[in-house]
């Protein structure tokens, strides 16, 4: 199987046809948690891309040496190590963003996309396709995060990346920010809307009754 893998598909499939969030419905928890504002959503997305790509490469390099009994533990140790490094780097070079994300960077460890990709892909494939798979899935996840974050910040706070977008005249005319957008349930509803839109474009994703 390993030699038949098409690198292009590995990289681009997770963006839409096989998106980890809206098709496989993995990693929903962090979509709820970090998307009330756009900026933490972007930093979170980039961090997940980095961690996932490197974890995939490392596990793929080790894949023939890992004893089967403890493979999940090995994967966890590698992911946890990388996440702590990312957290430390953010604290040193992007202190404000790391302050905003606080515990959520640490929670990347528990993101099911990571374990899913390591177990399903990196354990069975060579490093280069694994790297592309990690980048692809990470970007697929980041895309959804950014779309959800965009709508939640715009409709919930009237800003984007902290800049006021909805003009004051709207508020004077009686427009009110939708407080519901800030609450976690709205993230789920937005994800559901994305799934709806995506499936209406991709007929082959629709399930038969």
């Amino acid at each position: 199987m390993a030699d038949k893998i098409n690198n292009k598909e590995v990289l681009f499939n997770p963006l839409s046809k096989n998106n980890p969030v809206v098709v496989q419905v993995l990693g929903i928890c962090s979509v709820l948690a970090v998307t009330a504002k756009l900026e933490p959503a972007i930093v979170m997305g980039v961090s997940v891309v980095a961690v996932l790509a490197f974890a995939n490469v490392i596990i793929s390099l080790l894949r023939n040496t890992i004893p089967t009994n403890i493979r999940i533990i090995v994967q966890l140790v590698v992911v946890a190590g990388l996440v702590v490094i990312v957290d430390q780097v953010l604290k040193a070079f992007a202190y404000d963003a790391s302050k905003q994300l606080s515990v959520f960077i640490g929670l990347i460890i528990t993101n099911c996309i990571l374990m899913g990709r390591l177990e399903a892909f990196a354990m069975a494939n060579k490093p280069w396709p694994s790297f592309l798979d990690g980048v692809g899935n990470g970007i697929g996840y980041a895309l959804i995060l950014i779309i959800v974050g965009f709508f939640r910040e715009l409709l919930g706070s009237g800003t984007l990346l902290g800049y006021q977008i909805i003009p004051q005249s709207f508020y004077d005319a009686g427009y009110v920010n939708n407080g519901l957008m800030i609450l976690p349930p709205m993230a789920l509803i937005l994800v559901a809307c994305i799934i709806w839109v995506q499936r209406s474009f991709n007929k082959d994703l629709q399930e038969d009754n």
Partner: protein, 237 residues
Amino acid sequence: MNKQSNTYTIIYIIVLVVVVGTALAATSLALKDRQQENINADKMSQILNAALITPDKKDVVAEFDKYITEQFVVNERGEKVEGVNAFDVDVAAQIKLAADRRELPVFVCTVADGSHKYILPVYGAGLWGPIWGYVAFDSDGSTIYGAYFAHQGETPGLGAEIEKPAFSSQFEGKQVFKDGRFRPIAVVKAGQQPLNGEDYVDGISGGTITSKGVGSMLDNCLTPYKKFLQGLGQERQ
């Protein structure tokens, strides 16, 4: 070599943990100074924020040295304690001690018009984690000149709103001494008033527990400064 044997497994995991541990220790050591600089600069900018000065990110340290003309530590009786650096006092650890044993840092800020503002740190609990802040007093020891609050992980859009100027600017001009009695500012639901008639600000709707946390944080952390603030007021008269 049998990769499924216990010996292989144990040796494998030991090697892995040592390698990962070394990598983490190395990263932590390499980045420590930078991180500490960031943390210090962040603390300085928070202190200045309380005195309504918003320094540019690059010159935080210079601005801090320019405005904060004196820092010292007092005890509950309002006397200066020698030999303790106010900036290094860990407020989070201090609030666990009994009020009469605490080291209470004071930052004196000389603002543009030459008057002194006294900035006091506060620390408490929100809904999900710690909240903290700095409150700047006018030299009468009663009027609040400005306040700054921050949090670790309050809900964005709800409890997290305490860090917005919309919340903290409500404190400006409030008095902690009213009718000769010391009562730190209460945080109440919008539209309500506190029972004891002290000065109050509106809490955040949807962030009730965080708002209450701010109220009890002010109670807990400002009360030990009572003598010190009183002293400031008398000095002026």
